[in-house]
């Protein structure tokens, strides 16, 4: 018999193809470059990301569903793809100095980051349980390697093992949920699942609820929501700092992007009582994240708990299940990515030879010797708390607004109270930066890449706060596909 050739439009995954090929090229080139010149590969990786970004331009405004419905290309997917490319580029920029100081300047470092980026970029456009699961695995597999990359450092190896074990368990739980969903509906395509659930009117079937619980558990691990957050502080602390930044920005953005599509498209979140379980998780996540962050003395652990808390705020948009809520998640994710990347850039600055610099006390007096760094950190702290004129304020405004419009008053109140709590621990760091005496040997490891990363993240945090109209319009435009 003649094989039937499938109708495949490769252009739908053009950016991913380009990036994957260039990443393979990087692995080949790696063996021809001397150890001292490995940073050339970093520039190569930046170039590859720039090329990928360029290749998304002809895709704007297109709506393609291809590979037998496995991937779709729409404005929602492109929104996240653009954000993820930028995040990945910032991560590489802040890695140049760090990998030299920690002596992990291997070319593979950049290649694995690019692989993780390919997986992340596929996630928002996955429209099938199978392609979503595999792109999630591509991202996670690369991140396991990156977390353990400082293989001479016991802490990094320990966190690598921890991340691997919890991550694999979470993937298994997601897979179990997928099995229930597939068993109920008989298809893995998200669109068909949604049609099936609506026509058969089995929204409250126990097997569906089970699928929902299992998948929310698995996703809870991936976005570090309480009570599935246990791995986050240890892993964030042990991993190389740029990788920690990647975990808390890139992997969270990608996981939320796919979560929205899976939950909104397949489960009918507007009906039934789905929101109850999400409500409990969101409140616990916000509160525990913020309260435990109060007592941390290590910068990376503090930011880990703050990142847990932010996952709680983001879940509010999913609970509200409205256009403004979904748009709020998108806006907040982008803003959150830039501000948290900026905060991590400041930590990377503290890292010197034989000095890890991850204690809050290491920041003592930094603002006196480097006023610019102090100012940018204040900006990031304001944004993380959600005070205007920053990106964090705009995102939180949308999320809280969505919660209130959806009638979830208590959720909004708890969210606002939590933001107030977070003011204390962010500004404790600011106080240390301004009030304490600087250490005598204080020197920040500045490099051109670091300056660009810091400037860009600070600029974006401010820009999204002062002139948020384009991103709001893009987000509201994109979530129309869900309604």
């Amino acid at each position: 018999m003649d094989p039937i050739l499938p109708d495949i439009q490769l252009i739908a995954i053009l950016p991913e193809i380009i990036l994957a090929l260039l990443a393979c090229g990087l692995f080949v080139a790696e063996s021809f470059i001397q150890r001292e010149k490995k940073e050339q590969l970093g520039y190569y990786a930046i170039g590859a990301l720039a090329l990928t970004l360029l290749s998304t331009i002809p895709l704007w405004g297109k709506e393609i569903s291809t590979f037998s419905g496995m991937v779709v290309l729409d404005s929602y997917a492109l929104f996240f793809k653009t954000a993820l490319i930028l995040i990945s580029a910032i991560i590489i920029l802040m890695s140049f100095e760090y990998v030299k100081i920690e002596r992990i300047n291997l070319g593979e470092y950049y290649g694995v980051i690019l692989f993780a980026t390919v997986g992340m970029m596929l996630m928002p456009s996955a429209n099938d349980l199978l392609s979503f699961y595999l792109s999630l695995e591509l991202m996670s597999m690369s991140l396991y390697v990156l977390v353990a990359f400082m293989r001479k450092d016991p802490k990094s190896v320990e966190s690598g093992i921890k991340y691997f074990l919890t991550g694999v368990l979470a993937s298994g739980i997601i897979l179990y949920g997928i099995a229930f969903l597939y068993g109920t509906s008989g298809t893995t395509n998200l669109g068909e699942i949604s049609v099936f659930i609506k026509t058969q009117e089995i929204g409250s079937s126990p097997s569906l609820i089970m699928a929902f619980i299992l998948m929310i558990t698995g996703f809870g691990f991936k976005i570090a929501a309480v009570p599935f957050h246990m791995w986050a502080p240890d892993v964030y602390e042990g991993a190389p700092t740029p990788v920690t930044a990647f975990l808390s920005s890139g992997s969270k953005v990608a996981a939320f992007s796919v979560m929205l599509r899976v939950f909104i498209n397949s489960f009918d979140l507007n009906s039934g009582s789905w929101w109850q379980i999400l409500w409990i998780i969101a409140v616990m996540t916000m509160t525990l994240g913020n309260l435990v962050a109060l007592t941390q003395t290590k910068l990376k652990r503090m930011l880990a708990y703050s990142s847990i808390a932010h996952a709680g705020y983001l879940l509010m948009g999913l609970i509200a299940a409205s256009q403004i809520g979904y748009a709020g998640i998108m806006i907040y994710l982008v803003g959150y990515a830039f501000m948290t990347l900026g905060a991590f850039t400041v930590i990377v600055l503290l890292c010197r030879k034989n000095h890890r610099g991850d204690q809050i006390s290491d920041l003592a007096g930094v603002a006196r010797t480097n006023p610019f760094v102090g100012l940018t950190f204040i900006l990031f702290a304001l944004s993380l708390i959600g005070i205007p004129p920053t990106a964090g304020f705009v995102g939180k405004l949308f999320l809280f607004n969505a919660a209130i419009q959806g009638g979830f008053y208590w959720l909004a109140i708890i969210g606002v109270l939590n933001s107030t709590v977070s003011l204390y621990y962010y500004f404790r760091v600011v106080r240390v930066m301004y009030m304490d005496e600087p250490a005598e040997d204080l020197a920040l490891s500045f490099s051109p890449g670091m300056k660009i990363a810091l400037g860009f993240t600070a600029g974006m945090t401010l820009l999204l706060g002062l002139y948020p109209e384009p991103i709001i319009r893009a987000a509201i435009d994109s979530v129309k596909i869900f309604l």
């Binding site: 050739l5 037998s68 595999l134 990359f149 089995i202």
Partner: protein, 176 residues
């Protein structure tokens, strides 16, 4: 007859997977895992997926598990601890609770009984060809992504296991 075989394979799969996580000695675990894989292969045969059953045995039992066993023997792990984990009774308790919950959920679902009887896989064109066609038509993208995952995993494993070059070792020794 088929039902009897199904229940045997299913029961043996569950029991041996419980042993896989319950045993203390890694070698016993691996052997229990082997039994799990073999019985799952039996289930595949019952579903007329002979090709997958063969792959299951060749790849998992033949290659992966043998590698595991080799590594375990090379490492020469000793364990003087008891036969089963200490928390085994906790695990049994929670396991039973969860299983009962899942079973109740499943039997209360409206889909039970409505499920179509699984059609034996594409008898007309043969197992292997059916899988090949599915892989390169409908499942082309997942297939390629799996390729990327494996490439990333291989490179990652090599990077993490690579020896530190001598020159660098000397430098780090001096620093310490």
């Amino acid at each position: 007859m088929l039902t009897a075989f199904f229940f045997y394979f299913a029961f043996a799969t569950v029991v041996s997977s419980i042993f896989t996580i319950g045993f203390r000695s890694p070698v016993y675990c691996t052997l229990a895992l082997l039994s799990t894989f073999l019985h799952v292969a039996g289930l595949f045969v019952l579903l007329h997926a002979e090709f997958i059953a063969a792959i299951q045995i060749i790849v998992y039992v033949g290659a992966v598990l043998v590698l595991y066993l080799f590594i375990l023997m090379l490492l020469d792990l000793k364990s003087n601890e008891s036969f089963m984990h200490k928390q085994v009774w906790w695990a049994v308790f929670f396991g039973i609770v969860i299983i009962v919950e899942i079973l109740i959920g499943l039997f209360k679902s409206p889909i039970m009984g409505k499920m179509p009887v699984p059609v034996s896989a594409e008898e007309a064109i043969g197992n292997t060809q059916a899988i090949g066609l599915a892989l390169f038509n409908k499942y082309l993208l997942p297939f390629e992504v799996v390729g990327l995952i494996l490439l990333g995993a291989v490179i990652g494993a090599m990077v993490l296991a690579k020896k530190v070059p001598l020159k660098q070792k000397a430098v780090s020794a001096k620093v310490e």
